[in-house]
């Protein structure tokens, strides 16, 4: 028995055999924010063979309250999250192979990285990327574990191609304009609870104990003390375009992805959400943004100027969004996901 993993091996469902499986498997974590940092640390301590981390962002001081792998120095130096995570993880467990990608988790990159992954762990902050993960998982027959949180509320579901419903079965359209961590906040216990569910399910997959998988959508509110666990097998759609027999994987096609363009000479980026997204409700958005900055609205558009920021956002009724004050598409998308969700 390896001393390092002895307590995990004493746990009967894992044992020596399970530990050996964990030691030679690969997990791909998409996103290295709060969820990604926590699940990465957990898996690296558990002795995962290889961890691949994708994140496009860098560490900021407002991350430190809950993104457990990062330190003040990372924020001061604006170290990319995937790199900062790799450095800290490697000092926790030098035996684990860690591969970091400072990049957008787009179709092209995920199509390569999925090939060697045994499990995909969702730690993103937006549904556009989740719908891509959902289609990639189906196309390459790889399980993925949805996890998300906001405020004191969290949710998780394990999606097994060919068995469970997929995210496209469960959602009619891509949700837009919901609450985000940047509008209604987040407390770290919520992150930990989601990650606890995700990593427990990941370990079951890694030791090939499929019978132990939870098979329900789990959601909870840590402030209101409630916990739901719902059987959703009946929600599997036989004609689903992502997991049905005639799947077309719609979110892997160019016309179903968010389009972005830098507007020349205007210090502005235009974002056009995918047509499958549902319409942003400007009145609802206006209510939600009112305490965060200056909101002006007319029948055609809403303009939002957050307090203490130079960037400004204009949202049109056709879902088109202009982010003024930047020429950087990554930065613009980041602000979009922070504000719109």
């Amino acid at each position: 028995m390896q001393e390092r993993y002895s307590r995990q091996q004493l746990f009967t469902p894992i044992g020596l055999e399970g530990q050996q499986k964990i030691n030679c498997k690969t997990v791909l974590i998409i996103g290295a924010g709060a969820l990604g940092a926590a699940s990465a640390e957990s898996l690296v301590r558990a002795g995962i063979g290889k961890l691949v981390i994708v994140d496009r962002d860098y560490v900021e001081v407002s991350n430190l309250q809950r993104q457990q792998l990062y330190e003040e120095r990372d924020a001061t130096l604006r170290i990319p999250k995937a790199e900062a995570a790799k450095a800290h993880l490697q000092s926790i467990n030098s035996a684990v192979t860690i591969e970091s990608h400072v990049a957008d988790a787009d179709v092209e990159l995920l199509s390569q990285l999925v090939l060697e992954a045994d499990v995909l762990l969702d730690a993103t902050d937006n549904f556009d990327t989740r719908m891509i993960i959902n289609d990639i998982a189906q196309k390459y027959n790889t399980p993925w574990i949805y996890g998300a949180c906001v405020g004191s509320y969290g949710i998780s579901f394990t999606i097994i191609p060919g068995k469970t419903p997929c995210l496209n079965c469960l959602l009619e359209t891509v949700p837009l304009g919901g609450a985000t961590c940047d509008t209604v906040g987040i407390i770290s216990p919520t992150v930990q609870m989601v990650v606890a569910h995700q990593v427990a399910e990941a370990l079951k997959l890694l030791v090939e104990d499929e019978g132990a998988l939870r098979q329900t959508v789990v959601s909870f509110d840590l402030w209101q003390h409630n916990y739901q666990s719902i059987h959703v097998q009946s929600a599997k759609q036989s004609a689903c375009t992502s997991c049905g027999p005639d799947a077309t994987y719609p979110y892997l096609h160019y016309d179903q992805q968010m389009k972005s363009a830098v507007l020349c000479g205007r210090d502005t980026v235009q974002l056009r959400p995918a047509p499958g997204n549902h319409k942003i409700d400007l009145n609802e958005l206006s209510k939600r943004m009112a305490s965060l900055g200056k909101v002006e609205q007319n029948p055609f558009l809403l303009s939002f100027q957050p307090y203490n920021m130079k960037e400004r956002m204009v949202v049109f009724q056709d879902n088109r969004v202009l982010i003024h004050g930047t020429k950087d598409i990554h930065e613009a998308k980041k602000l979009y996901y922070q504000w719109i969700g």
Binding site: D125, Y153, D221, Q224, Q228, I230, H231, G341
Partner: protein, 67 residues
């Protein structure tokens, strides 16, 4: 009418008679949710035609995007 919503016993106004009205009462976005009534999932196109009875147990699960 007395019902259980996400584990909490709740008294809702008498004009809330269907699942759709209940979701409206709580200002819930129908599209990004799963709704369970007495342990069975309610299809999204059945919210308006699903009537509620005293003592029903309803679970709302929101799909959120944060992380």
């Amino acid at each position: 009418m007395m019902i259980h919503v996400n584990g909490c016993q709740t008294n809702v106004p008498s004009d809330v008679r269907t699942m759709e009205q209940l979701m409206h009462y709580y200002e819930l976005q129908a599209k990004s949710m799963i709704v369970e009534l007495n342990k069975a999932i309610v299809n999204k196109d059945k919210y308006a035609s699903t009537s509620l009875q005293n003592g029903d147990c309803i679970e709302f699960v929101h799909f959120v995007g944060g992380g």
